[in-house]
Every structure is written in C-alpha cells, then in structure tokens.
Amino acid sequence: MKDRSVGSRIRERRIALKMRQADLASSVGISASYLNLIEHDKRRIGGKLVVDIAGVLGVESTLLSEGAEAALISALREAANVVTDADPELERIDEFAARFPGWANIIRSQYQLGLKLERTVETLSDRLAHDPELAAAMHEVLSMVTAVHATAGILHENRELEPEWRARFHRNLSEDSQRLADSSQLLVNYLDGAKEAETRLASPRDELHSFLGEAGYFFPGIEDGADVETVLAQSRLLRSKGAQFLARELLTDYATNARAMPLHEFQGAHRDTSGDVAALADRFDVSLAAVMRRMAFLPKSVLEQDYGLVKCDMAGTMIYRKEIRGFSLPRYSSACPRWPLFHALQRPGQPLVEVVEFAAREMEQFKCFAVSELQGRPQFGKETTFTATMLITPNSERLPPEGQVGAACRICSVENCSARREPSILVDGI
C-alpha cells in the first residue's frame, strides 16, 4: 500500500474538504505560509499541531501522522479489545488490513459508530437525569399518554357507556391527544439538539411566566432606570421570539409605570391611601389600569400587601397573570366568565369593583377592581379593540359577596351556574 508524507495527507484532506489553506492555518493558530511549508514537507510537524489540524480536518491524528493503514490497524486493535469473547487473530491483523481493506474499514466504521452511539446515550442519560426542562417535558408527555391510555381504556371496556359520558371521554381524548402531539413534537425538537429558540419546550406565555416568576414580578434594574432591552438581554428564560415580544411589551409598560409612579413615592402614597386605586390614579395622573399593574408588580415587602392580577384581550385570552393565594388562575383552560374582568370588557372604560367569593374548599372572598382600556391608538375606519385588567385583593373589609366565581368550569363547584360551559368533575360526580 502506497504511503504518503504527513504534509501531503494534510493537503489531500484539506482539498477534499474544499478548505482554503489560510482558513486551516488560522483555525490552528499558524500562518498560511507556515502551513504551506508543512504541506510541502519543508517543515517537520508533530505533537499538538497534528492533533489540532486533524481536529479541524475531522480525522484521527494517526491518519495524518502514520498513514491510512496504520490508523486502520489501530482502530481494528481497539475494536478487537472491546469484543473479548471473539478471540480474533491479532497476530494476522496487518495481513487482514492489507488483504481485505474494505471489510477492515467496515469493522472500523461499525466500531466508531458504536462509540458515537454510546456517547449519545451517555449524553441523553445525563440530560434526562439533570435537565429540569427535559424532565418537565417528559412528565408532560407521560401524563398525556396516561390520560389518553386511561380514557381509551374506559371507552373500550365500557361498551354500554351512557352517551353523555361517551361524548365527554371522547372530548378528553381529543384534548389530550392534541396536547400529546404538541408536547411530543417539542420533545423531539429538543432531543434533536436544534439550536433555534423556537424549538423550546414551553409556549411563549409559559416562558414569560417563568421569567416573571423568577423575578418575582419585580425589576429593581428598571426601577433604577435600566433600559428594558438590557433586562431582556440578561434573561436566560426568554428563549423564543414570541416570549421576548411579550416580555418587551410588558416591561415597556412596567418602565412607563415606574417612571410615572416612582417606587418610594408610590410606596408612601399607597400607605396613605390604604391602596385606593382611584386615589392613586388621581395622585399620579395615570390610568386606573396602570395603577393596578403597578400595585400587582410591586412585592409585598414594599406595599405590605399581596395583589393578584389578570390582563386579557377581547377574545378572553389571558395575556399575563399574577396569582394570589386562594384565587386560582387557570393555565390552559378558559377562565370563569363570571370574573369581573370579563364584565369590564362589556363596559369599555367603566371601572368596576366587585366582591366575589371564590368557589374552592376555603371559599375565600376577594375584592376585584376591573377596567378595560383601549388597545393601541384608535383610528378612523378601524374597529377599536380593548384589553381588560383586573386587580385581585383579599376582601379585608368583609363586605358581602356579590356572587360566586371559580377558576374554570371543570373544576368549579358552583351549582346551577348559568354561565357554565361544561360539567364540573367536582359537582356532577361520576
């Protein structure tokens, strides 16, 4: 077998990869002229530089330094060491490589493929064990598989099922299979190692809420005048463009409110007015909705009071939410139509305050302030749209409730509700 010099092997491999001499030289930190000398065997090469060049050219360093046959024999020896019970004729390995180079290359390729797959398995095992995002995604997939499996089992095992139950389980099956399809796709994208941020495991709104949750809805940097883009750039949780869009809009509003209602001034005014939304709006000459958002986003350590908040669009989709204990805000399903939030959408611009009792085990009462406001600037000839904001506060005044509300119909225990969209699994039983 004809063997060649180290320089000529480097040159041959580089040209096969259509790589310029200057690019290879730059990648390994030497000048193009020095590489030229190496390739024409005018300079000796060895040690780290061979390893570096081999790395850039994507070959084993022995292939460059010792030639193809030496590299092949070396790989065959490694493969022979792995399979201990095959008893290969090691003393005839040179003869085998020389007489059957094609078969020898197949053995080497399969051995190297085995190593690569082992590394992949190790990497994936490590990610499964230590990556909370992946663990959450796997949990979502398995939960949906469980729901689909259990529901399908019920439909299969109960052929005489009443029509209403059959319809109910069919609907569950449809919902869960859709969630399963979505979560499986995201998981596949993730495991593929795609770098594109859009292949995240959560929706943009989930990312936004992770971001807000981590910050506790409070951004001291912005309070001190930091630029919104700087805060966005520092976040590792806002991966997708969709989440960045939502966060930019929210933080821009936050920054506007922080300028109009400076932290310490607002803290004092909140104390003086006992958190009176209208009085604070007058004091700072801002909208009621802006005051509500400012109150909700400042921590309890500042205002000595916890507030919940929901903002929705005209379709009833929750744009963002901040939970308060006792008043559950559904993450995926549609909310309770009896929330004052939705009443505010029916009466644009009219501030509403309602005391409601939240239908849960503890039946806590909350005072809700809601108002809708224009979304963007109104234009002639175009339909105006609104958003609604609702501030949720514990009903410390113990006023009688004006009505009962829930989180979402399926988990709401209010009986005889005219706004009910679907049966409750808590009330109707089975």
Binding site: L142, S143, H149, A150, W165, E175, S333, I425
Partner: protein, 121 residues
Amino acid sequence: MRVLLIEDEPNIIEAINFILSREGYDVVTHANGHDAMDAVRDRAPNMIILDVMLPGRSGFEILEDIRADQAFAQTPVLMLTARGQTRDRELAEKLGVSKFMTKPFANSEVLETVRTLTANV
C-alpha cells in the same frame, strides 16, 4: 370506602374517578400540593392515591407528612408517577408508600391495587 385522589391533571382525575366510582368507591379529589394535607385531614380518607409532581409541593413531601400524622400513619397510599426511576421508588418506599405505580398505568391495574389496599381497611 372513601378514596382521596391528589392529582393535578383534570383528565386523569376524571378517568380514575370514573373507574373507582363505578366500583362503588366514594372518590374525592384535590388538585394541588399546597394544601394537600388539609384535604387529607378534612376528608379523612380510607385510602389515598397520590401523584408525585404536583403544583406547590411534591408527592414525596406530602407522603412524609401523611406518615408523620398519627391519624394517617397506616392509611394505604398508592403513589402514581411519571418518574419511574429507581431512586424515586426507593425514596417512596423509605417514606412509607404502600404501592408505587408508574404512569402510564392500566385501569385494571389501578382498580386491582385499590381493591387490595382497601381489603383490610
């Protein structure tokens, strides 16, 4: 026979609720980990089916509290989880779980386990 199901996926709740209720069990449900112990004390179940990954608190923490409460130290607890790793199973056993079952499960398997665990209650 009252069974308390602590699980946060509505359609899994509905499926298990259906399976057990049809067999005559009185199924009560609770969907978060925050106040799961309050639900255990309020409902005083004969048996508990407990998910591991719950909003607020994990099923392991709740199991620890259940076993620490004299009134429920002997109550059968079936733990359902998507996490089937050996160390999770070992942790559950160390904390006193009666039976550890990984998702997805067969309906008949859940029903049979509930029957077995409540046989002597």
